[in-house]
């Protein structure tokens, strides 16, 4: 609980003087002051202290708290006041630790304690052993305070709540093995979730250290592989019995859990801080088990339905397509199709036939024309024309030859004439009359003058008949 009061401190510990009982020193009294009783401040203070501590060894005081401050030593200092007076107060660490709620300024409380005097300052104060909120109970106050604080921190925000898993592989349970809670939960699960896999982390659920144990157990169980949800809780009991579930450390452990946490503390009417921090609050442990089961059952049903819808949808979509095909088949545009197709086929065949027929006709006609032409061509008598041409050629040839012969004869005659005249003109004809022609030895040059030859030369002499080869013996001009 002291962790609630982790506040900074800024002054040194003043409480040590408490143990340091000042020693009252009696001085020897001077004669003239014998009539008076003089005491030191320490002595007087000590006496007052004795009186107060004896008279007010236990006193209950109702007041409002102010100037409340927790020192780092764990002691709490504050002032108790009402409209008319103030009283310094201290609460030592051991007493503070047992407080369920956090004392704070303005709080109306009833304290039980003893009066004491802080001698160094001459102050009297009340040393509180116990403190209760005035009016509502301490636990309720503590609950309200913590709830308010955690709420302000956002720990209870709806946005933090996680959905439970549809089908947890393992269900973690943090509770006592001794209570009815665990048996109740197992009973429910046995009946409706026969293949549940439970992991139980036993924890103390009440008494000193229960909160820390619960928090530790929760922190540990979520590390087990496969745990998808944790139920933390206990069966019914008094407010004090359930108190561990109102401790901050449990709330923080729930919030820190990586998997959803179901709180299941006490009965329907019991609300704890754990319930606010949890992802889901179950009114009782059995109800927590029911919640887990119903998630599973819901999902079984859900999956069944999805399966059916899946089949239905596909069957539906096939049926729709089928009916569309049928409809299209029956549409007039489509219904006459095959007939029209057949008609087209026949038309096509007929056309082909006609085409072939037409083609044949054309070819045949051409053939006939050709034959007719050939006949005509044959009838045109080429050979006769050739014969006529040949006859013409023969005639021409004969004429040509006759002309040629004639010309030949004429040429012969002319030749004779020419030859006769030639003969008469020939110088050689002179030779017949005894003339001779003198040539040089090579018979290339006619020698016309005697100077053209020298004695000793050979000359040739052509006679009318034959030739002489003569030596020139002398020349004579």
């Amino acid at each position: 609980m002291s962790s609630l009061f982790d506040l900074p401190f800024d002054e040194p510990e003043p409480a040590q003087a408490e143990a340091n009982t000042p020693v009252a020193r009696e001085r020897p009294i001077e004669g003239r002051e014998r009539a008076r009783t003089v005491v030191t401040v320490s002595e007087l203070t000590s006496r007052i202290r004795d009186m107060l501590e004896t008279a007010y060894a236990e006193v209950w005081v109702e007041a409002e708290i102010s100037n409340c401050r927790l020192w780092n030593t764990g002691h709490l200092y504050f002032t108790l006041k009402d409209p008319g007076a103030q009283l310094k107060a201290v609460m030592f660490k051991s007493a503070v630790r047992s407080l369920k709620f956090k004392p704070e300024d303005g709080l109306h409380v009833v304290v039980r304690g003893r009066l004491s005097v802080y001698e160094p300052k001459g102050e009297y104060q009340i040393v509180c052993e116990q403190m209760e909120p005035h009016g509502l109970g301490a636990l309720q106050l503590a609950f309200d305070q913590l709830k308010r604080r955690l709420q302000a921190e956002g720990l209870f925000d709806a946005a933090r709540k996680r959905p439970l898993p549809a089908f947890p592989r393992k269900i973690g349970i943090v509770t006592s093995l001794d209570g009815a809670a665990i048996r109740d939960m197992i009973k429910v699960l046995d009946r409706r979730y026969p293949n549940a896999h439970l992991v139980i982390r036993p924890a103390r659920v009440q008494g000193d250290g229960a909160a820390a144990d619960l928090a530790r157990a929760l922190g540990e169980i979520v590390t087990v592989p496969g745990i998808d949800v944790v139920i933390i809780g206990r069966g019914g009991g008094s407010v004090e019995d359930l108190w561990a579930f109102n401790e901050e450390v449990v709330a923080r452990a729930i919030v820190a859990s990586p998997v959803p946490v179901i709180s299941a503390v006490g009965h329907e009417v019991d609300f704890t801080i754990a319930d606010f921090a949890a992802d889901v609050r179950a009114p009782t442990p059995s109800a927590a088990a029911e919640i887990v089961v119903s998630r599973k059952e819901d999902f079984c049903t859900h999956i069944e339905r999805l399966g059916e819808r899946l089949n239905g949808a596909v069957r539906g979509s096939i049926a729709r397509l089928e009916s569309r095909v049928h409809q299209l088949n029956r549409r007039p545009g489509f219904a006459g199709w095959s007939a029209r197709l057949a008609m087209r086929g026949r038309h096509c065949a007929e056309t082909t036939h006609a085409l072939r027929h037409a083609a044949h006709g054309v070819v045949n006609r051409r053939l006939r024309t050709y034959q007719a032409l050939r006949l005509q061509l044959e009838q045109f008598d080429l050979r006769r024309r050739l014969g006529a041409i040949r006859a013409k050629l023969v005639a021409a040839d004969t004429t040509l030859r006759a002309a040629a012969i004639q010309r030949h004869h004429r040429a012969e005659a002319r030749l004779h004439t020419c030859a006769a005249r030639l003969d008469s003109l020939s110088p050689l004809a002179v030779l017949g009359r005894g003339y001779a022609v003198v040539w040089d030895e090579s018979r290339t040059k006619v020698i016309r003058q005697s100077t053209e030859a020298k004695p000793g030369d050979t000359v040739r002499v052509t006679l009318a008949k034959g030739e002489l080869k003569c030596h020139v013996t002398s020349t004579d001009d």
Partner: protein, 78 residues
């Protein structure tokens, strides 16, 4: 089992999407058959996971050890 399916919740979510798509119609036959096949796989996976789990009660002790709980908690044992 299809190795692409390993998360129960994701499988359900995908199955839901597929069913919705199929129910909306307007899908080509091939596509709807493809979706159907996937849907059947998912549904089978979910069923298997729901049925495959085995009843077990274990105790996690303070040392972090898991051991089976005694018969004390197994009410249905013969």
């Amino acid at each position: 089992m299809d190795s692409t399916i390993n998360d129960f919740e994701a499988a359900i979510a995908e199955l839901e999407t597929i069913v919705k798509k199929l129910e909306e119609g307007d899908l080509a036959l091939e596509k709807s058959l493809e979706l159907y096949e996937r849907g059947v796989q998912l549904s089978r996976f979910c069923h298997t996971r729901l049925e495959a789990a085995e009843k077990r009660i274990e105790i996690l002790n303070e040392r972090g050890d898991l051991r089976p709980a005694g018969t004390a908690f197994s009410k249905d044992e013969k």
